[in-house]
């Protein structure tokens, strides 16, 4: 179990006063276009300066809108960690569960009310260390869930420990001599376990991320989106990558679009420190979901 630390900003909220830019037209005093999708009274959020989670959440909210998911059908289930705090800011039905257990909780929600569009939003440690077993089995069942993993290569909430996605050789507070372990290759793991939709982008690919969420929210079955996000106070700092903006540029510079890779070349999706990172959509299949198959079980039982 990791601890929830009390973030410095959790004590109170500052109302979102709207300040037009120096050239701003006072008549255009409106709120941010995402404000009606957010619990804006809770802003500013707890994430650190230069963190990418807010960007990824914005892209998901964009996806909800553009996939025309009705407001009352939007459900976000999260676990524990920085990314899992999205439930306090997104104006959806929101469940902040235990560390690693968002996927089985979301499974119960979805099966009870299949009309809901259920998203699991959590971090790499939550989904792939403590919750790895649940990820694998939900993918195997082709459970109707969109799972979003904010991969920042370390445990941010507890102060930057190494985890299941920390690249080999990378530094963290628990790998001070360089990580001796190899990280999970998340797209391949998801695909091998049976996911129907798999994509990976960095937070600087925000437009592609928006399009991916829009597409994935309209699909069925188990969908997985990995978002490579900066964590400048821990991973970025420890590994001397720099500020949040610099870390975003760094990942972006290492990107190779999957669509631009020759099918004969041997560029894999594993992440190796300072080596190119393949991004794009890796799997997009329309397959029978658990609910489709279970409907047949019910029909047979009622015969």
């Amino acid at each position: 179990m990791t601890d929830e630390e009390t973030p410095a900003s959790a004590g109170g909220t500052i109302s979102a006063e709207v300040t037009p830019a120096p050239n701003g037209d006072l008549a255009a005093l409106e709120l941010h276009p995402y404000d009606h999708l957010l619990r804006s009274e809770a802003l500013p959020h707890i994430w650190c300066q230069g963190c990418g989670i807010g960007t990824a959440l914005g892209a998901l909210l964009h996806g909800f809108e553009h996939a025309s998911v009705p407001v009352e059908k939007r459900v976000i289930v999260s676990g524990i960690g920085c990314s899992s705090r999205v439930v306090y800011y997104a104006k959806t039905d929101a469940y902040h569960t235990t560390h690693g257990r968002a996927i089985p909780f979301a499974t119960g929600v979805k099966l009870t009310n299949p009309t809901l569009n259920v998203v699991v939003f959590a971090g790499d440690g939550d989904l792939f260390a403590i919750g790895g077993n649940h990820f694998m089995h939900a993918a195997r069942r082709n459970m109707d869930l969109l799972v979003v993993c904010i991969n920042n290569f370390n445990y941010g909430m507890t102060g930057g420990q190494g985890g299941p996605t920390t690249p080999e050789g990378a530094l963290s507070t628990t790998t001070p001599y360089g990580n001796a372990e190899r990280p999970f290759n998340l797209p391949e793991f998801a695909a091998a376990a049976g996911a129907s939709y798999v994509a990976r982008w960095t937070t600087l690919d925000v437009r592609r991320l928006q399009a991916t969420f829009t597409e994935a929210l309209a699909r069925h079955g188990f969908r997985f989106v990995e978002v490579l996000a900066p964590c400048p106070v821990s991973f970025g700092k420890t590994n001397k990558i720099g500020t949040g903006a610099e870390e975003m540029e760094y990942y972006y510079a290492l990107e190779i679009l999957k669509s631009r890779i020759e099918s004969t070349s041997h560029v894999g999706t594993e992440i190796v420190l300072h080596r190119p990172i393949v991004v794009g959509k890796f799997v997009d299949l329309e397959r029978e979901t658990f609910l489709d198959r279970y409907a047949r079980v019910v029909a047979k039982a009622k015969e």
């Binding site: 500052i14 941010h32 650190c48 230069g50 964009h62």
Partner: protein
């Protein structure tokens, strides 16, 4: 129901919104006004670094949380091309663009 479309252009080229007689070889330039919700800004500089027009900068004033919010550079007020990248990349929902009517 419940889906309120975000005000944004769907096509960078502007084709979707153009009237029928705009020549295709004449670029349509959009203009916008940047709005910054200073109390939300955490000075991450995403908008400053990633603005294609380089029209933003960090101000020299501090918010009550101790951050210096982004601002539009003096003299650059008319440079916004309403691409909205700052709005999309801002992790704080602290900056947005209102597109000027042509």
């Amino acid at each position: 129901m419940g889906s309120v479309a975000l005000p944004r252009s769907t096509s960078a080229s502007g084709i979707a919104r153009s009237p029928a007689r705009v020549p295709i070889d004449k670029p349509v330039r959009h203009h916008g006004t940047v709005h910054i919700i200073e109390s939300r800004c955490k000075e991450c500089e995403f908008c400053v670094v990633f603005c294609p027009e380089k029209m933003l900068e960090i101000s020299d004033r501090y918010t009550s949380r101790g951050y210096r919010p982004a601002r539009v550079k003096a003299g650059k007020e008319g440079d916004c091309i309403a691409c909205r990248f700052c709005e999309d990349v801002c992790p704080e929902y602290a900056i947005y663009v209102v597109e000027d009517q042509p």
